[in-house]
Every structure is written in structure tokens, then in C-alpha cells.
């Protein structure tokens, strides 16, 4: 009987843990969203007595933030295009390789995922300085490319892996040459992998802080960098407004991902490390 008691006890504990953790994950987000609409001109305790959009207008009228936002979006778009170009090519190349070299090379190309981002950023900074590259945007672009490529490679590889080998063979035996078979059969079917990779790459680029912070300069900075300096200087609610905007962006990305690819499949293609 005590086995049963212990069972029930543990079950209760388990459920409490689950409840606690879900609250822990959700509450801060909700608090931030709520506070972003706080009508008070200062940061006060919960709950806000009245709601307004003042913090949002503060955010949008601040050149510092808007510049950062513009740079972030530019960087993200460029990085996605460039890293897709390299990444898809690499993934296709890896997919064609015979077994021995392939695993080692794949790990090599995915290694930026394991290396601490600060290290990547610092190393790149020193190297680019030596090479004479001082343009802030160029430096940031290099950094963003290297951190986004592994995502495009991994997602494309997963997409390619799902393609039945016999389809390419069928195309060949029907008369198509290798190149036609690739563009007409393999590429369209790998599309979901490539799209997933693009979306992950965009999200990673928009979010990055650790690499960008090493490569940024006074004139060129990304939105997360702007937010961090703002946080240290003046911890106010315009950052809450910015957070809400970023949350909306994330939701938009997730919706696109779901529409284009389906979330279940995207998870299979490595949304987490």
C-alpha cells in the first residue's frame, strides 16, 4: 500500500513541477507584453493602472533603435541569401559523397554550432582587422554568414535525406542527364528543407548578440545590440515594446514555417542543436 501512496505523492509532485515550469516559461513573457502597454512614463510595479501605446511610439521615434532595426533586417536578408547559396551547395555535395569522408566533413561544416559564439566573433574580428577590413557592415556580414550557414546545411541535408534514391535513378533511366535530374527532381523535392533552412537562418541572424557585439562599431549596429546598450544605460519599457515587436516577428516566422513546411517536419530538420 505504501507503494501506492508514494506513487500518488510522486505523481502530485510531478504535476506540480510541470505546472511550475510552464508558468515559469509563460509568465515573464506575459508580464513583458502587459508592461509594454503601460501608460505610466516610468517603470512601476504590476499591474499597470492604464494602457497606452506610448512606449511603442517611443521605440519607433528613436533613431537609435530604428537604425539598428534597419541594419538587422538588411543583414538578415543578405546573410540568408548568401548562406543559402553556400549551404545548399555544400549540402548537395555532402549528400553525394561516399560514406567515409562524409561524416567527418559534415561535422566540420556544422562545427560553428558548437564553438562558443563569442570566440567566433572575437577570432573573426582580429582576422578581419589584420586583413584590413574595417567596414562595420562587412564585418557583421561575415560573422552572420558563418553562424547561419550550419543551419542551412543541416536543414537542406535533412530535406535531401528524405528523397527516395530511386526517384533520381528513375529520372536517369528515362533519359535525363544528372543536371536535369537534379533541377527537375531533387531540388523541388528538397524545397521544404531549403525553406526551413532559410527561416532558421533569418531567425538566427536577427537574434544574434554574441558574435555581433564583437564585430559592431559605433556607426553600424544591429537591433539586439542597440537594445542591450539601452538596457544597461536605461532600463525602461521601450525595450518591452521592442520585445513585443520581436515576438510578433517570431510568430510571423513560425506561421510561415508552418505554412510552407509544417512544424513537425521542421523539428526533424533541427530547430534546436
Amino acid at each position: 500500500m505504501s507503494g501506492r501512496r508514494l506513487d500518488d505523492c510522486l505523481r502530485l509532485i510531478g504535476l506540480t513541477m510541470i505546472g511550475t515550469v510552464i508558468c515559469f516559461l509563460v509568465v515573464p513573457i506575459m508580464v513583458t507584453t502587459l508592461m509594454a502597454f503601460d501608460a505610466r512614463p516610468y517603470l512601476g510595479p504590476l499591474p499597470p493602472p492604464a494602457l497606452s501605446l506610448r512606449w511603442f511610439s517611443r521605440f519607433f521615434s528613436d533613431d537609435y533603435f530604428i537604425n539598428g532595426l534597419g541594419t538587422s533586417v538588411e543583414l538578415a536578408c543578405l546573410s540568408v541569401v548568401l548562406s543559402l547559396g553556400c549551404g545548399v551547395a555544400i549540402a548537395v555535395g555532402l549528400d553525394r559523397m561516399s560514406f567515409a569522408g562524409r561524416e567527418a566533413l559534415t561535422s566540420l561544416f556544422l562545427s560553428p554550432l558548437i564553438v562558443p559564439p563569442v570566440v567566433t566573433g572575437f577570432a573573426l574580428l582580429l582576422f578581419l582587422a589584420q586583413m584590413g577590413v574595417i567596414n562595420g557592415f562587412a564585418r557583421l556580414l561575415c560573422g552572420h554568414i558563418i553562424i547561419t550557414i550550419p543551419y542551412t546545411i543541416r536543414a537542406t541535408l535533412a530535406g535531401l535525406a528524405g528523397i527516395d534514391r530511386s526517384l533520381t535513378e528513375a529520372a536517369l533511366v528515362l533519359g535525363a542527364r544528372e543536371r536535369s535530374a537534379f533541377w527537375e527532381i531533387t531540388f523541388p523535392l528538397a524545397r521544404t528543407g531549403i525553406v526551413s533552412g532559410a527561416i532558421f537562418a533569418f531567425a538566427v541572424s536577427m537574434d544574434d548578440v554574441s558574435v555581433s557585439i564583437m564585430l559592431t562599431d559605433a556607426k553600424t549596429y544591429t537591433l539586439p545590440i542597440a537594445l542591450i546598450s539601452s538596457m544597461r544605460a536605461n532600463f525602461d519599457l521601450s525595450i518591452a515594446a521592442a520585445s513585443v515587436m520581436l515576438m510578433l516577428l517570431t510568430l510571423a516566422l513560425i506561421l510561415i514555417l508552418e505554412k510552407a513546411v509544417g512544424l513537425n517536419r521542421a523539428i526533424g530538420q533541427g530547430v534546436f542543436r
Binding site: 527516395d164 530511386s166 526517384l167 535513378e169 528513375a170 529520372a171 536517369l172 533511366v173 528515362l174 533519359g175 535525363a176 542527364r177 536535369s180 527532381i185 523541388p188 523535392l189
Partner: protein, 371 residues
């Protein structure tokens, strides 16, 4: 080293001493065979026998390590799949999921240089051949298994290839559908006059589709011949055991009985008359008898022909399979399976003592295989 021999006229496919190894494994060991125009040949064997390798060598996805491969007199060494005029029907059809039925069927036509204007008419013609008129706009995912197979067949035949390769064509279908499609497949291939090679591990598939069967084992050809030859006159123990069911008697040659008959003295002492013109006194060998060739009689059975063998036994199992009755009879030489059609009339029951009548001509002498 390939032996330089003139190719046979009228042959569509010729394999001469083809060798293929994968690392240490020898997949094909000097494989030699031909297929003539209009023939349907089956490569039959268990997994690992080399039939799939042969398929891939013909279609161009592998290159041989030695030997000659010719299609319609042209050497295929070094030729990529798209440079050969071969049609391949994949086991799981390999229909392009992102294209419609019409686009699938048209794929080969587009890449083999057909004029754009002529393609739709040809697609319609092929769909009509496989009885799928009007299916042009559908997608593979919307089709049943049988329909997918027909689209795959239409796709293969559209370019009128010199040779059609079928990879386990009926294995992906359930039993009822298999029956139906087997006949359709045969009729379509005959009407088109194609030369066909069917690769399969399923003897029923081979027996029902092919004019000639090549039985393979471990990279070598065990025997080739018509379905009847393979079944009634197997030349190796492997073929006897692989095709259908076989009953075995092991022993050595006793007396010569004249008329091409020899006596088999089994290890249990039973004496059987076997048709064995090349018998050597004292040599050990095995005899194989098909279950449906054995007649079962009650304890008072009288002889028909004097050369008939009568073997005593006790029925230990009776299985009613509907169309047939299967009996397992325990005799001095072990268990014997007897199959009889399910006729009306007195039935033999479990536990009965019976005499099995085995004609000498129904026994096939084979090299000794251990029981």
C-alpha cells in the same frame, strides 16, 4: 578478361562472363546469358543471389568489373543510364510525387527528344494502353497501388525501349490485386511486343510471367529453362528445393534395373526404382519427388505399372487448403508431403496407414544433398 566472341544475331541482351564484386563479396561470378527479341525471361533467386546486381548492370547504375554487356548488339560498357534505351519499372514505382500523371509519363519523352507537339498524344495513347484514360491531371498520391503501377508501366513503355526491366513487379500488391494485374501486365507486354526481364524472388511471379526462367544462386546460374523444365526436371538440389515443394530420398545406387532405370537404396533401406540413365554403381545421390505426383492408396493398393514404387507410411497430418488437401505421411525415410486436389469421395484420415505410389519417371536424380 572478356572472351571475344561474336554476338548472337537476334539477341536483345547479351551477358558474357560478367563479373561484379563489391569489396570482398563476389556478387556475380562469370554470368553468361542471352535474351532474344520478344522473350520474357525471369531472373529468379533468393536475396543475395545477384539478380538485383544484374538488373543494375543492365540499366547502367553499376559497371561490371569484367565481361561484356550488349544490348541490341551494342556494347554498354561505360554507358550512363540515359544513354541506354532500357526501361526500368521500379519495385515501388518511383513516380515523381511533385508531378502529375501526364508529366510523369511524358518525362522520358521529353528527355529522349520527342517533339513537344507530339507528346500529349503519346501520353494519352499510353494511358489508354494501361486503362487509365482521363487520369492525366491526377497526382501519384491520389492513386491506388494498382493505378500507380499502371502509370509506372505507361511511363516505362512510352519511349518504346528495346528492353523492359521489371523489378519485383507484383510484390508490392496484395494477393487479389496481384492476380488481376499479372494477367494485365502479361497482355500489355505481349501486345507491345516488348522484350522483358523480370527480376524476382517469388517463384509464382516468375512462373506466371516468364517464358524462360533463369534460376540464380550466389552469383551463378543454377539452371535455365521453361517453367515446366525447371519444375519437373531440376538439375541441382538448390533448384529442386527453391521451386515448389520437394520430397527427398537420400541413398546410393543399388542394382541396375534396365530401361534406364536404376535402384536407389536409401539410408533407411527402402528400395526405389528411379529413372537415372547415367547411374554409376555404388554412387550416392538423392531423388526428389513433387508432392502432387504421389498417389495415395489404402492398405490394399495394388500395383499399376511394375516400375511403380510403393512406399508405406502413416498419415500424421491432414490440412484442408480449400482447393487442395495436404497430407504429411511418416514413412521409414522421414516425412513425405502429398498434395491431392480436393475431390469428393472417400477421404484419407489422420492416423490411417497408407501406401504411396511413386512412379519412377516422377523421381528426379540429383547430386547428393545431405538431409
Amino acid at each position: 578478361m572478356a572472351v571475344s566472341m561474336p554476338s548472337q544475331p537476334g539477341a536483345v541482351v547479351e551477358f558474357r562472363d560478367v563479373v561484379k564484386c563489391f569489396g570482398q563479396t563476389v556478387a556475380l561470378d562469370r554470368m553468361t546469358f542471352t535474351v532474344s527479341a520478344g522473350e520474357t525471361v525471369s531472373l529468379l533467386g533468393p536475396s543475395g543471389c545477384g539478380k538485383t546486381t544484374t538488373l543494375r548492370l543492365i540499366s547502367g547504375f553499376e559497371e561490371p568489373d569484367a565481361g561484356a554487356i550488349e544490348i541490341a548488339g551494342e556494347s554498354m560498357i561505360g554507358k550512363r543510364p540515359y544513354e541506354r534505351n532500357v526501361g526500368l519499372l521500379f519495385q515501388h514505382y518511383a513516380l515523381f510525387p511533385h508531378m502529375t500523371v501526364a508529366e510523369n509519363v511524358a518525362y522520358g519523352l521529353r528527355h529522349r527528344g520527342w517533339a513537344k507537339g507530339e507528346i500529349p498524344a503519346r501520353v494519352a495513347e499510353m494511358l489508354q494502353l494501361v486503362q487509365l484514360e482521363g487520369f492525366e491531371a491526377r497526382r501519384p498520391a491520389q492513386l491506388s497501388g494498382g493505378q500507380q503501377q499502371r502509370v509506372a508501366l505507361a511511363r516505362v513503355l512510352a519511349t518504346s525501349p528495346k528492353l523492359v526491366l521489371l523489378d519485383e513487379p507484383l510484390s508490392a500488391l496484395d494477393a487479389k490485386l496481384r492476380e488481376q494485374l499479372r494477367l494485365e501486365l502479361k497482355q500489355i507486354l505481349t501486345s507491345v511486343g516488348s522484350t522483358t526481364i523480370v527480376v524476382t524472388h517469388d517463384q509464382e511471379e516468375a512462373m506466371s510471367l516468364a517464358d524462360r526462367i533463369i534460376v540464380m544462386n550466389r552469383g551463378r546460374i543454377e539452371q535455365q529453362g521453361s517453367p515446366d523444365e525447371i519444375y519437373m526436371r531440376p538439375r541441382t538440389p538448390f533448384v529442386a528445393a527453391f521451386i515448389g515443394r520437394a520430397n527427398w530420398f537420400h541413398g546410393h545406387v543399388g542394382k541396375f534395373l534396365g530401361n534406364g532405370l536404376a535402384q536407389l537404396v536409401t539410408t533407411a533401406g527402402t528400395q526405389l526404382a528411379i529413372r537415372y540413365p547415367d547411374a554409376i554403381q555404388g554412387a550416392s545421390f538423392s531423388a526428389c519427388v513433387r508432392p502432387e505426383r504421389i498417389a495415395m492408396g489404402g492398405p490394399d493398393a495394388s500395383a499399376g505399372d511394375p516400375s511403380d514404387n510403393l512406399v508405406p507410411g502413416k498419415v500424421v497430418d491432414v490440412v484442408n487448403m480449400g482447393a487442395e488437401l495436404h497430407y504429411v505421411v511418416e514413412g521409414n525415410d522421414g516425412r513425405i508431403v502429398v498434395v491431392e486436389p480436393n475431390r469428393a469421395g472417400p477421404r484419407v484420415r489422420n492416423g490411417d496407414q497408407v501406401w504411396l505410389r511413386i512412379r519412377a519417371d516422377d523421381c528426379v536424380a540429383l547430386p547428393r544433398s545431405e538431409p
